[in-house]
């Protein structure tokens, strides 16, 4: 089985986000970057599928040089190969742009795929778009937000999370799958893995090599403003006898907030 996993380098979830209002971007200085948490589930699932069925796992990222660190981490987890699709532009929040780059690379470089794995959402941009867009651009089936995946031959079934239930979806390979928490428990890198990853070459493919000209992939969303969310005001905090406290709370909910 030839599996490709698409991974993104993102600020870790602890990050306090500061904004540069002039450039309408976030301040990257001082942020700690990690492999996007959902992508970690996708990498783990690919490794498990390879262990069960044989084959090869290739991790691919669209981004700046810095994304090489993210790819190295995936290699250290056990991925066989990594490719960087080098894109210098800052975050555009435009899922279609990323999806077009990925789809083009798949057609030109990874056409022997059996499965394309993604995270259900990149932490940060929070688009939850790229997997479905890639599926459409390549004419493949998609199953998003997957908590269980089974593959036999060229058929698969997956459980996909919806509101208060799961959908059981059947599909044929190749397909686009995006991972949700619950799919698996990602493994840690081993020391041996880290050493091996250090030695691996990571080929870098430019957007020109994929046949894009600059104005082919201008973002189609315009960022008008980037701002901090309105701060919540801390309210009333009380330390009373439990019964008294409960009474006051319910009075607040009923009379002031009028929610009960």
């Amino acid at each position: 089985m030839n599996i490709f996993v698409f991974v993104k380098r993102v600020p870790d979830t602890e990050s306090k986000i500061r904004i540069n209002h002039e450039t309408k971007t976030i301040v990257e200085e001082g942020l700690n970057f990690v492999l996007s948490p959902y992508d970690e589930y996708a990498v783990e699932e690919a490794l498990r599928l390879r262990e069960a069925n044989g084959g090869k796992v290739t991790v691919v990222s669209v981004g700046k040089e810095e994304a090489l660190t993210t790819l190295k981490k995936c290699l250290a987890m056990g991925a066989d190969e990594a490719v960087l699709l080098k894109d210098e532009s800052p975050e555009t929040y435009d899922g279609l742009r990323t999806a077009r780059i990925i789809a083009r690379a798949v057609e030109q470089k990874f056409s022997d795929h059996n499965l394309l794995l993604f995270g259900k959402q990149s932490v940060g941009a929070d688009n939850a778009q790229v997997p479905a867009m890639v599926a459409e651009l390549l004419g493949l089936p998609q199953v998003n937000v997957v908590t269980k995946l089974e593959v036999k031959g060229n058929q698969g079934t997956a459980h996909r999370e919806i509101e208060g239930a799961l959908e059981k979806v059947s599909f044929s390979l190749s397909a686009v799958i995006s991972a949700q928490k619950g799919l698996n428990e990602p493994r840690y890198e081993t020391l041996k893995g880290i050493m091996a990853a250090k030695k691996k070459e990571i080929p870098v493919v430019t957007l020109e090599e994929l046949g894009f000209k600059d104005d082919d992939i201008l973002p189609m969303l315009e960022v008008i403003k980037l701002e901090s969310p309105p701060q919540r005001q801390a309210g009333k905090i009380i330390e009373d006898e439990p019964q008294e406290a409960a009474k006051k709370l319910v009075a607040f909910l009923h009379e002031e907030a009028k929610v009960i």
Partner: protein
């Protein structure tokens, strides 16, 4: 024209779709145009009447027996043919599980970009402008669209419903042609937990427990509260989920669900940044925590410093009294 996709669940149009229709109508009035809606499925014509009270002037009904089960590939194809024909300027979906699955597929088919999970919409110079939370709500980005149609999904539970009116509109039925091989990735079955509770993203009140709940059995305390509070659901912090006390479907936060209920109740939750990310857009927040320094109190409208095991039973009695009125 603004076109709104109406999602059907268990034989009804979902409330979150009617919220989108309501917001669509508000923008349509500003743009001096109409809002229309689309239903996709099989034997669903009867549902069109649910959209008229929320001001859809027209409902397109796209039917085909192959559409009786959802598939992003076939639904987006059906919708694409309608969009090519009726040329809406704006297409809106709910950012529900289905909306988030379908909208990007359609956007890619149309070659336009999409804004996900918006919490505010406005019109400027005849165009749509939307605000969406990024970094799990730690920043807000306002975007507009360069292509046409302009496409967005709107977060459930954020946009108010219009007061329904007794209105009629036009039903336009269309038989769509879907080649069988276009049904890629087909829903075979919907699996539901036994006695499944309401989903946290759809509830008016979310009652959440964290590590302070001490064990899975104590979530019953919260379930008892939930059983007396209408339209409530049980949420949890990641610590409670990771401890195996409750299924991850209930997890609220950056790697869980983002909720904006009318009321969020946090019991034994410290208020880590990743948890706040998922719930700080709630309209009201209350917290019970024995640590007066807990971060959750920084966002709570009302907090009780105390032992939840002592407070919750009284809370239940007091709520019962008020709800009985």
């Amino acid at each position: 024209m603004i076109l709104v996709f109406l999602e059907i669940r268990e034989g009804k149009v979902k409330k979150s779709s009617l919220e989108v229709l309501s917001e669509g109508k508000r923008r349509a009035d500003e743009l001096k145009t109409e809002v229309q809606a689309v239903l996709i499925g099989h034997n669903i014509e009867g549902l069109a009447s649910e959209a008229f009270p929320y001001r859809a002037s027209k409902v397109y009904v796209l039917e085909n027996s192959l559409l009786s089960h959802y598939s992003a590939a076939s639904f987006s194809q059906a919708m694409h043919s309608l969009v090519e024909e009726v040329k809406p300027e704006i297409i809106l979906f709910s950012a529900s599980a289905m909306g988030k699955d379908l909208a990007p597929r359609l956007a890619a088919k149309l070659g336009v970009s999409l804004a996900t999970d918006c919490i505010q919409t406005a019109c400027r110079a005849g165009k749509l402008e939307v605000i969406r939370p990024i970094f799990a709500g730690k920043a807000f980005v306002t975007v507009s669209f360069k292509g046409s149609p302009q496409m967005a999904t709107l977060r459930p539970n954020v946009f108010p419903l219009l007061e329904p009116e007794t209105k009629q509109g036009e039903v336009v039925k269309k038989d769509v042609v879907i080649p069988e091989d276009q049904v890629k990735g087909k829903v075979e079955e919907i699996l539901r937990e036994e006695g499944a509770e309401l989903d946290v993203t759809e509830a008016d009140v979310v009652i959440s427990g964290g590590r302070g709940m001490k064990g899975p059995e104590n979530f019953d305390l919260l379930r008892e509260l939930s059983s007396i509070v209408p339209h409530s659901a049980i949420g949890a912090s990641r610590s409670a989920v990771d401890a195996g006390w409750i299924d991850h479907q209930h997890q609220v936060g950056q790697t869980g669900k983002t909720v904006s209920p009318n009321l969020y109740m946090a019991f034994g939750i410290s208020g880590a940044i990743q948890h706040l990310a998922g719930m700080s857009s709630s309209k009201h927040i209350i917290a019970v925590n024995k640590d007066p320094e807990a971060s959750i109190f920084k966002v709570a409208d009302f907090g009780i410093v105390g032992d939840l095991f002592q407070v919750v039973p009284h809370l239940k009695e007091e709520l019962k009294k008020v709800l009985a009125e």
